[in-house]
Amino acid sequence: MLLAQLSEAAGISGQEAEVRALIRSEITPYVDEIRVDPIGNLIAVKRGRKGDRRVMLAAHMDEVGLMVVGIDADGLLHVEAAGGVDPRVLVSKLVYVGADRRPGVIGSKPIHLLKAEDMDRATDMDSLYVDIGARNKEDAEKLVKLGDQIVFATRCEPLGEGFLKGKAMDDRVGCYAIIEALKKQHDFDLVGAFTVQEEVGLRGAGVAAYRVKPDLALVLEGTTAHDLTETPEHGYSTVPGRGPAIVYRDASWVGDRRIVDRLIQTAEAAGVPYQIKRTVTGGTDAGRIGPTESGVPVAVMSMPCRYIHSPVSVICADDLNNYVKLAGLFLDSLDERGLPV
């Protein structure tokens, strides 16, 4: 299953090569042109029947994880967060280190040795380390280098009735949706922009948009789904099972109302379930695509992901199907009714 392959591929910000290679091999049969720009964005073009307008779909390839920043005398690796990671969710997780996926364990003190005050305190990033089974610093240095990426060793697989669990759903679900969309030809040129370094500050997308110069852009993202205990309903951002989330604004950008309205009209006309994302926190690549040159009309559609930015996220399989479907129907509507901008 392609989504599982994408989810399990390793690629923290700046080290997206494995994800890029996987996407490249998937889309090559379907697109007319592929290039990788100087900072690593993968940009694919499927030429249109008319080709008078250019529509860009964007999703980021990078995921949150850790990076090796030091090796101590015992051969244990010191780490820093790569992107927004909560250190409280890291203890005792299995990880892969570096390009050759060396297994590692995030160490923790056994309960026998904990002091009373330790029990009340979450471990912070400075006191976490990764154990790759090296005897000492010299051995460890043969296996890893400073700057190597560390990703969670999480299998992507079905969970319960109609759910999936896996890492990096943010934003491999978006990559997956674009790969599916690139299989179909439209009147306009369709550009798939698989961007780098979103998780460290939306860095890739602006560069991609500057080169592509789209007439319209849609960002396909993964977003929070906090429909959980303790949160009052008005604090839910999205709810899994209610369909893809159309985003009218977030902290980085106000979605172009014409695109947002077209997404809603398309979903309603086809009976595809959708929800409007309720909270306006967090940024997306739209915040860099929108202000490119004289401005690019852009909006965001997001996949609800529980436990986002943790070693394991949970998504609803129906949502995934509807997310891919609505993206495709939206593109069809651009053929049938023209671009709304």
Partner: protein
């Protein structure tokens, strides 16, 4: 002039929902502009051609900017009983909202309520809701939808020399631009008057407008804070002290040539002015200055008390000084000498 101040202040246009205020401004400026366009983000861009092109060279471009958006709120959720939850648009304090009304684009009015609080210090946006007088969710959804923006209700008060109302930030500067458009006669260079969107969300509109115009010099007009009310933090700007010429804020160090041109123009024309260094906050000049290869930019500020509340206050004497200063600066820049900059 106060009639137009009132009309602009009362116009509806929270960041990202500037359609109504753009129409109001457009109808005011159409008679003065040689060409008007609206860019992809919604910026209203008005070109005023010079009387005569400079001999042997293309006219340079002068960008003058005021933002037309205002702070407000956006609907994030509607509950079973028809209460509306919201998020702020722009820099808003929850305490300002108590007892306050908001209005949506279609005229729907809402009032703010709060959950039970043990201490008023606990007041946060997520403890608040808007009551639009709906009896249940269906009735509320017939009036407002998630993503709809609303603006503060703030009546206009003519206090004589001074006036108060909502959205003086930055409609008073829109007025300054409109008046300068009416008065200034550019000789040899083009002037682009931009009424920008989404300033309150991070100078977003000015950035794309400036890229499109590719100006040779940029001037933003915006409000600034005040330092002359009881026990206020020290700040070298007072209401009635004249046009404020910006030296620095968090977004920009004014280009020395632009700042000095403003000072010289004020001195030469007997326009009262005060110099301003603002520690926090920025203006569209910060975005214009960093466009493409960089644009020499500066800001003229209208002193304004109680900024980002529904009762902002400005002094019409300061407004007049800003109009005269902007007119003089534009004419100087658009002259064959280019103000020593172009």
């Amino acid at each position: 002039m106060k009639d137009l101040v009132k009309k602009l202040s009362q116009g509806f246009g929270p960041s990202g929902s500037e359609d109504q205020i753009r129409s109001i401004i457009r109808s005011e400026v159409e008679q003065y502009a040689d060409e008007i366009r609206v860019d992809a983000m919604g910026n209203l861009i008005c070109r005023v051609a010079p009387k005569a092109a400079a001999s042997g060279s293309a006219p340079k471009r002068i960008m003058v900017d005021a933002h037309m958006d205002e702070i407000g709120i956006v609907v994030s959720y509607i509950d079973d009983k028809g209460f509306v939850r919201f998020s702020p648009v722009g820099g808003l304090s929850p305490h300002v909202l108590l007892g306050q009304k908001v209005v949506f684009a279609d005229g729907t009015v809402g009032v703010f309520g709060t959950e039970k609080l043990d201490d008023i210090k606990d007041l946060k946006f997520d403890k608040m809701f808007i009551d639009i007088g709906a009896r249940d969710r269906a009735e509320a959804q017939a009036k407002v939808g998630i993503g709809d923006a609303a603006a503060m209700v703030g009546s206009f008060a003519d206090m004589g020399v001074r006036v108060s109302g909502k959205a003086m930030d930055d409609r008073i500067a829109c007025l300054v631009l409109i008046e300068a458009m009416r008065r200034a006669r550019p000789q040899v260079h083009e002037v682009y008057y931009v009424f920008a969107v989404q300033e309150e969300l991070g100078l977003r509109g000015a950035r794309t407008a400036a890229y499109g115009i590719n100006p040779d010099v940029g001037i933003a007009v915006d409000v600034t804070l005040w330092g002359d009310t009881p026990e206020h933090a020290p700040f070298n700007v007072s209401l009635g002290g004249g046009a404020a010429i910006k030296a620095k804020d968090a977004s920009l160090i004014a280009h020395p040539a632009v700042k000095n041109l403003m000072i010289d123009a004020a001195e030469k024309n007997g326009i009262p002015y005060q110099l301003e260094v603002l520690e926090r906050g920025g203006t569209d000049a910060g975005a214009i200055a960093l466009t493409r290869e960089g644009v020499p930019s500066g800001t003229i500020s209208v002193p304004c008390r109680y900024v980002h509340t529904p009762a902002e206050m400005v002094d019409m004497g300061d407004v007049d000084a800003c109009v005269r200063l902007l007119t003089a600066v534009v004419e100087e820049l658009a002259s064959p000498g280019g103000g020593g900059i172009l």
